[in-house]
């Protein structure tokens, strides 16, 4: 274990650690662009300069391994001067379009210039013009002028996704990132290149111009796209959730996540925003996506009242005539609470497990994405095991067919897209006298007279635990409330049982306290 001194602080690091890793460990400031902990070392931005005592030349921290007794500093005047000029070299051909650039606010150039910049630019010559707004693929937009050629994205496609779509073409200051014309950047991990891009050269087609990043808050959660359970940062504000980005977790996902998982954020917002019309006459239209209140057939009803009514009806019918359907999409706590209500309170054995596409469960793309697109399959199985329940699906359908089962409560899947059999199951189950479906999103097939819909919370609006494919338990925390009248399974179980659910308790963690009569831009008549 070599020991070294960084900026006067002693630190012991593992054999083979580079100086920049030691700096990161100490949480000391060090400028860098091309180095990324998840990628190989390129050593091209030349910003992580450090002075190693006894070495006349400045060294780059990313390619120098710590050796015992090294005395390293980046507070030296020589180093500071080198970094100042290094930044200026990065900026001489960088356009002045921060106002338009989507990266502004989370841009490496902005951040590092504030810390290490020279503040008196001497470049008085014309900048190199390159191509702007190039679609590299469905999801990624390139602006070559902003690119500082750190090669992170190229290394990502070479080393992580192994798809090799990107390359740096030409040479000198005419170098440009690009794809070969016939082969766009369309792999399932392409948006990671946007995350690792330290500047605004690569931006996400989806997130582009929707929000400025400084309007957004972020909180950590777990992706529900598949059983891998990648850790994510959820970016949200008052208006809703705007994007997911991967959060580092060495045990689960490292630095990355897949594009499919990122797409899911749009299903969380109560409204979907559409831009309609031609160039000048573009209008914004908002279409509801989430179920906003309880529905009893086509009649709208307060969701709490509906939940209480459901509880009463279930109790009236009693054990044999009712059934519960669960999926791997709810948290372990929800599943347990509702199952307990059925197994203990109602004394029912009719708890059924709805599996979506079992045949794909063992698929794995070798990076992150798994075939089992439920975040909590293991949790569901564990719950059934705990209560000793092992009913088969045919028992349910038989029961409905024969009229033994009159009322079915379905904890509907939050992500309906990964349930290709959604419609057929609704058809099947709605043969029962009453079908109660808790759902987060609207779905046409649920619009039936005997189907009661209870709005459910999505994973950003609840706390709980997901158990991933490897059996790792991951806690998710409450992030923001989006649909006021929705509950999670735990709350539903309490309401059905007849317990109180005080308002204050429900929204105790809400970052935005909802105040009546709030001014908004669409105020209408006074």
């Amino acid at each position: 274990m070599p020991k070294c001194t960084l900026n006067g602080k002693e630190i012991e690091v593992a054999e083979g650690t580079t100086i920049i890793e030691a700096y990161k460990k100490l949480e000391e400031d060090i400028a860098h662009y091309c180095w990324h902990p998840g990628l190989s070392v390129a050593g091209v931005c030349r910003l992580c300069m450090v002075k190693v005592e006894g070495n006349p030349r400045l060294q780059i921290a990313c390619n120098t391994v710590v050796q015992d007794g090294m005395v390293i500093s980046n507070q030296d005047d020589e180093v500071k001067e080198a970094v100042r000029w290094g930044l200026d070299f990065h900026l001489i051909n960088h356009p002045l379009d921060c106002p338009v650039c989507d990266q502004a606010g989370e841009c490496g150039l902005q951040d590092q210039y504030m810390k290490f910049g020279k503040y008196d630019p001497e470049m008085a010559e014309r900048k190199v013009k390159k191509s702007k707004v190039v679609d590299l693929g469905k999801r990624v937009v390139l602006d070559s002028e902003r690119c500082i050629l750190c090669s992170r994205c190229v290394r990502f496609t070479e080393e992580v996704s192994k798809t090799n779509e990107l390359g740096i073409f030409n040479r000198g200051d005419h170098s440009e990132i690009g794809t070969y014309s016939g082969k766009p950047l369309d792999n399932n991990y392409s948006l990671n290149t946007v995350d690792i891009c330290p500047v605004g050269a690569l931006t996400s087609r989806d997130f582009r111009f929707k929000q400025r990043v400084w309007f957004l808050n972020k909180k950590q959660s777990v992706c529900t796209g598949c059983s891998t359970g990648c850790n994510i940062d959820v970016y949200f504000n008052k208006e809703g959730v705007w994007r997911f980005k991967p959060a580092f977790n060495a045990e689960v996902n490292g630095h990355w996540m897949c594009d499919k998982g990122r797409d899911y954020y749009a299903n969380l917002n109560p409204y979907e925003t559409h831009v309609e019309g031609e160039r000048k006459d573009k209008k914004v239209k908002r279409i509801p996506v989430r179920l906003l209140n309880g529905m009893k057939g086509s009649e709208m009803i307060n969701s709490q009242d509906l939940a209480i009514e459901v509880g009463q009806r279930l109790k009236e019918l009693g054990g044999e005539k009712v059934a519960l359907v669960i999926t791997g999409q709810q948290t372990s706590e929800e599943l347990e609470a509702v199952t307990e209500f059925f197994a203990k309170d109602l004394n029912s054995k009719n708890v059924f497990y709805w599996v979506n596409n079992k045949e794909n469960f063992d698929e794995f793309d070798g990076i992150l994405k798994r075939g089992d697109e439920n975040p909590n399959t293991k949790g569901a199985l564990k719950t059934l095991e705990k209560f000793g329940l092992n009913q088969t699906w045919s028992q349910l359908t038989d029961g409905i067919e024969k009229g033994h089962i009159e009322m079915v409560l379905v904890l509907g899947p939050e992500n309906q897209q990964v349930y290709p059999d959604f419609k057929t199951r609704v058809e099947e189950l709605s043969k029962a006298k009453t079908l109660v479906w808790t759902t987060a999103c609207l779905n046409e097939s649920l619009d039936k007279s005997n189907v009661w819909q209870i709005p459910a919370n999505t994973f950003v609006e609840k706390e709980g635990t997901f158990i991933n494919h490897a059996g790792l338990e991951q806690k998710i925390s409450f992030i923001t409330d989006l649909v006021h009248n929705a509950f999670d399974g735990v709350e539903l179980a309490r309401l059905m049982r007849g317990d109180d659910l005080p308002e204050e308790e429900r929204f105790k963690n809400s970052p935005y306290k909802r105040v009546n009569n709030e001014f908004t831009s669409i105020r209408g008549d006074l």
């Binding site: 496609t157 798809t163 090799n164 779509e165 990107l166 390359g167 740096i168 073409f169 030409n170 040479r171 690009g178 794809t179 070969y180 014309s181 016939g182 082969k183």
Partner: protein, 158 residues
């Protein structure tokens, strides 16, 4: 639409087998394409090479764009590459290049209307003792020139 000749495909395959890493064959393969396609490499050739050599297009494209000897656009029948580096510039090649361009009414790097010439300034070709010099396509060097000799040289081309 360019397509490599069967012999060309054979050549590329043999080059892939020739070197320890198959990527080493990219440069010889691109030379072959250039030879078969009037001295320049069309973009679609990259995907063909990618299929033959089983190397991602981006890797081949990177190499293709990095080296100056692969022409990205048509360069006429005679690609006249005039060295304008130190020794040759001192010997007056810049004036020769300007003269040639003016005479044919083209700018540096443009192909003449009859498709015969393209005049291009290039960096040192390693013939400084015999400056001024130029190279036509990838043939032997023409050395110890002056304006008259150069014009005669171009006239004598078939």
């Amino acid at each position: 639409m360019f397509k490599l000749s069967p012999e060309g495909v054979e050549f590329v395959k043999s080059e892939v087998a020739r070197y320890e890493s198959k990527e080493s064959a990219i440069i010889p393969a691109l030379y072959r394409v250039q030879k078969e396609n009037d001295n320049w490499v069309p973009n679609e050739a990259i995907s063909e090479l990618s299929q033959i050599m089983d190397i991602p297009e981006a890797r081949i494209n990177e190499v293709f764009h990095f080296y100056t000897m692969f022409n990205k656009e048509p360069v006429g029948k005679y690609h006249v590459q005039v060295c304008t580096n130190v020794a040759c510039a001192m010997a007056g090649t810049r004036e020769i290049l300007k003269d040639l361009c003016d005479e044919h009414g083209v700018k540096v790097g443009e192909v003449t209307s009859d498709g015969r010439y393209c005049f291009q300034n290039v960096e040192c070709l390693g013939s400084c003792g015999t400056a001024p010099m130029l190279q036509i396509n990838q043939d032997k060097y023409n050395e110890n020139l002056d304006i008259e000799k150069t014009k005669q040289l171009l006239k004598d081309l078939p």
